[in-house]
């Protein structure tokens, strides 16, 4: 192992962090839209949203990445889209589906009486959702959001398969130059650990705090992993 490896991997890690942050940002927006649609009063909207979410949850994220790069790439080659943005798009679709389930669980955990109270005060359904219900659902969703962010960060390593120069791809190149896979990949695992472990601790703390304040446990056992 040489000190230059650290520097090379650090450059890749910055791309990984950028990729993860964009993905998390866009996922929150897309997931919020899905979550609101999936509790809509209109059956057609509700069913469509749930179908799309279930379908996205069924497709491996690696498949989404390959489809975007090798499939879609053929048709939009003239647009010169950077693989980085294809990866952001594919990862966002994959992660948003799970995040929307966390948000939906958060919205559904708000007691019916809150809706009724808002209605009796003259709030319309949309403004009741925006001003009364959604703000209460934000805090209980935070542990799930932190967890999903960790998963996004880990999953961003898949973007190496479509030639995004993030840290895993950089490590692959280093391996092909040095022929030392064991050392390089162990170091790479170390890079991921250093970023993830503090967030894991944070997720644990957030979950404890939320469980204590609300006395409820937003159920994410089914979605935290896939």
């Amino acid at each position: 192992m040489q000190w230059s490896w650290l520097h090379i991997l650090w450059v890749g890690l910055q791309v990984t962090l950028r990729l993860s942050l964009y993905t998390i940002g866009f996922s929150v927006v897309v997931a919020a839209a899905f979550a609101v649609a999936s509790i809509s009063r209109w059956r057609l909207v509700r069913w469509t949203a749930r179908f799309v979410v279930d379908l996205l949850r069924s497709i491996p994220i690696l498949a989404l990445l390959i489809f975007a790069y090798y499939g879609l790439g053929k048709y939009i080659a003239s647009w010169h889209v950077d693989p980085f943005w294809m990866a952001v798009g594919a990862l966002t679709l994959g992660e948003a589906a799970f995040l929307s389930e966390i948000f939906r669980a958060g919205l559904e955990a708000i007691p019916r009486t809150q809706w009724e109270a808002a209605a009796s005060l003259g709030f319309r359904r949309t403004s009741a959702l925006a001003r009364i219900i959604a703000p209460q659902a934000v805090l209980p969703s935070i542990p799930g959001l932190v967890n999903m962010s960790i998963f996004t960060f880990k999953d961003s390593s898949l973007a190496s398969v479509i030639a995004v120069p993030e840290v895993t791809q950089v490590a692959n190149q280093l391996v092909s130059e040095t022929f030392k896979p064991l050392q390089v990949y162990l170091l790479l695992a170390g890079f991921y650990l250093v970023v993830i472990l503090p967030f894991t601790a944070l997720a644990g703390l957030a979950e404890k705090a939320v469980t204590r304040y609300y006395g409820l446990h937003v159920d994410k056992a089914s979605i935290a992993r896939n």
């Binding site: 491996p60 489809f67 990949y185």
Partner: protein, 215 residues
């Protein structure tokens, strides 16, 4: 290649995907249980070791674990094939998640059951195996189904080390034949047909288990 040939090629890949997922599932269920039991009844060093190994496994991307075993271990003289590497690595990585769900289900059994078991002369391990585990099993069904669902999808990572599962073949077909839309459609339909009913079924099982727990 016609669309029919592509479909049959992808179906063959699907069989390999199922093999990986089923093999890794078996590994995950047993190794996960071992991790959970070690954390439950082991001596302090064993407990700490199990806790840190699972935490490390959970914090490393599966792709890198796969590269470590497939590309890294041969330099130590341990050479396993792609299929075996995929089954073992994906299974053990998933076990680190399963261990947490096993632990959570063990907690649902009241403490008094353990005291009762111990007072009947069972050892700590005996109490766990014969008194606590059988009562906790109900709450393990949903996590184990979830584990299979998850593995069906992570099995695609095996394509990165050249195992001819569905995505590996799909990628080749796309590049060789240019029938991009056909490949994407077949893969999405196959995954949708396999996973969407499973997702619904799991949420029913989960609701049942939760109702039982809180009533």
């Amino acid at each position: 290649m016609t669309t029919g040939e592509i479909t049959s090629d992808l179906l063959h890949g699907g069989v390999t995907t199922l093999e990986i997922a089923a093999g890794a599932w078996a590994v995950s269920a047993t190794v996960g249980l071992a991790f959970a039991m070690a954390r439950d009844v082991g001596m302090l060093p064993v407990r700490l070791a199990a806790a840190s190994v699972t935490a490390l496994l959970r914090s490393t991307p599966q792709l890198i674990l796969l590269y470590l075993v497939f590309f890294g271990l041969p330099s130590l003289g341990i050479d396993v094939g792609g299929l075996t590497a995929a089954i073992v690595v994906l299974g053990v990585a998933d076990a680190s998640f399963n261990a947490e769900y096993y632990r959570a289900s063990l907690i649902t059994v009241p403490r008094t059951q353990r005291d009762a078991g111990m007072s009947l002369g069972f050892s700590r391990l005996g109490t766990l195996t014969f008194v606590v585990l059988p009562q906790a099993m109900l709450y393990m069904v949903a996590p184990l189904l979830n584990s299979f669902l998850s593995l069906l999808k992570t099995a695609t990572l095996a394509s990165a080390i050249g195992v001819p599962e569905i995505l590996y073949r799909g990628q080749n077909d796309m590049q060789l034949t240019g029938h991009v839309v056909a490949v994407i459609a077949v893969v999405i339909v196959l995954y949708g047909v396999a996973c969407m009913p499973l997702i619904r079924f799991i949420s029913v099982v989960e609701r049942r288990a939760r109702e039982r727990l809180y009533t």
